[in-house]
Amino acid sequence: MPTVTREYEAPDVAAKAAMQAESMEATTSDIVGEKMVLNMGPSHPATHGVLRLVLEMDGEIITKADPDVGFLHRGDEKIAENMHYNQFVPYTDRLDYLAPLANNVAYALACEKLMGWEVPERGRAIRVICCELARISAHMLGVGVFAMDVGAMTVFLYTFTEREKIYNLCEQLTGARFTTSYTRVGGQVRDLPDGFVSAVRKFLDELEPVIDEVDKLLTRNAIFMARTQNLGVITKQEAIDWGISGPNLRGSGVAHDLRKSNPYLDYERYDFDIPVGTTGDCYDRYLVRMEEMRQSVRILRQVMDKLPGGPINVADAKGLLPKKEKVLMKMEELIHHFIIATQGIDAPPGEVYFGAENPKGELGFYIHSKGGGVPYRLKIRSPSFINLSILSKMIPGHLLSDVPSVLGSLDFVMGECDR
């Protein structure tokens, strides 16, 4: 038998890999239309918390955006079903944690609607002060962070200084800088401390020059304009369709403000204007926020000018915790105190919804009660969640570097969005 010699090629591992890579390159490189998926967040400085955006990119241009929320979910709605109405107040601090006072007020108003109570005039005026201070503080941060996102760091530092002053006021009023827990169903924990009104006035006098300064730094700034104008446009119809609320809605030109259209807390008695935008882009939303701060200053001045006297809590002796002095000395009040503290405020059965104009938009509480001290179901309509839902519509078509300005202009807060 003759011997046949054949030659086999047996490449080693490295050579094999090189061959594979070569063939890969031949098939994949330079394919037009190849998309890349980019994860932005959940811990990205421009996503203001823990928002994750799954972006599909064609080069620098975003073709699809998928907001992924829920990283901060704490089950607040379920927690509410397991505690008294008053015990839930500290949890409302942690919804929109940039304006805890406004959340406290909104929650208290929703519960009072269920109870059929109305706080006296002075209590309402105090609540307006709380809401407007919270609005200024939230917008100060909103504008400052927005500017920082598009590259203007200075503004952030100036606005943050003012926010610290608001925190000092909160501390004087409630005993805590951040987690205010100021309201209770049927009133407030305490009346305004001595000198509070003059302290607020002093603060407002210092605030106005800072708003002007921010205005000077940003409004006519060509770079800021270039980075925000005609970006992230929400048209009037879109804004309504997607249920956007707050400054984002007004930036799109819809003059809807619950303080005007559905006045609560005597807002109809104060003279203020609603700023609306024309284009609905990031720049308009910024302008609306700036103007809203000025309007809040106006409201605050009016409230303090005609601050009524009298009681701050509802006079329903059966539904509220009795006065502490009486609890300490009198048997009847002590028994009553124990009943209220252990069983909660006895709410009538029924369903209510109350929406308040919070800095971020309409914060609504829907309460379903079956009677007794604990809600059967408590639903929170959080404005940030609904404002964010439009991202998937809004972002595609933009450059990746525009995403921070779009996010910054929407001014959301994840604590409330994920609740």
Binding site: G175, L217, R220, D273
Partner: protein, 181 residues
């Protein structure tokens, strides 16, 4: 209903070319820099503080909500009668109380009960102040301590001894057990 439409400015050529904007921005920045120098020189109140060398403590209101603690009265009596109302109301369930009897030979035997164990888990506590609000004996107070730290989870659970240490004695409260009963 007054609606104002926000005005979108039209930039002049010198603003577009950053000429006037540059000077405007520099003016603001310099004014702030000057202010900072004045602050350092002590001519103006400072914005920041050098914590922990400087503290804000003297500005805190009396009702500041820091760490909750138990207090004793003028006669060193534990004010708490372990009614457990605070344990019940505490939203994050940070308080655990084991009630105990006061022995009949104790001078305060008429009070009948006091806590055998009283623990507040400072990792759970959210400083809401509800315990102070519901206490019918003025026994628990939120103090001005805000820097509560510990090296372990166990250290962060304040037991009865520690709570009385932080709380100390508080005079001038209503002493119903002295006169009335």
């Amino acid at each position: 209903m007054a609606i104002i439409t926000v005005q979108r400015p039209k930039l002049a050529w010198h603003e577009k070319a950053f000429i006037s904007t540059l000077f405007k921005g520099l003016k603001i920045t310099l004014s702030h820099a000057l202010r900072t120098f004045l602050q350092i020189a002590g001519k103006k109140p400072k914005v920041t503080m050098e914590y922990p060398e400087q503290k804000w403590d003297d500005q805190l209101p009396d009702y500041y909500r820091g760490a909750p603690a138990l207090v004793t009265d003028e006669h060193e009596r534990e004010r708490c009668v372990s009614c457990q109302l605070c344990e019940f109301i505490c939203p994050p369930k940070a308080i655990t109380i084991t009630p105990g009897e006061i022995p009949s030979d104790d001078p305060w035997a008429k009070v009948e009960k006091r806590p055998k164990e009283f623990e507040i888990d400072m990792i759970r506590c959210i400083y809401c102040g509800m315990c102070e609000e519901v206490c019918p004996e003025q026994a628990i107070f939120l103090r001005k301590d805000y820097a509560i730290t510990g090296l372990s989870r166990k250290e962060m659970v304040h037991d009865k001894k520690r709570l009385y240490e932080i709380g100390g004695q508080r005079v001038g409260l209503v002493n119903k057990w002295n006169e009335l009963k």
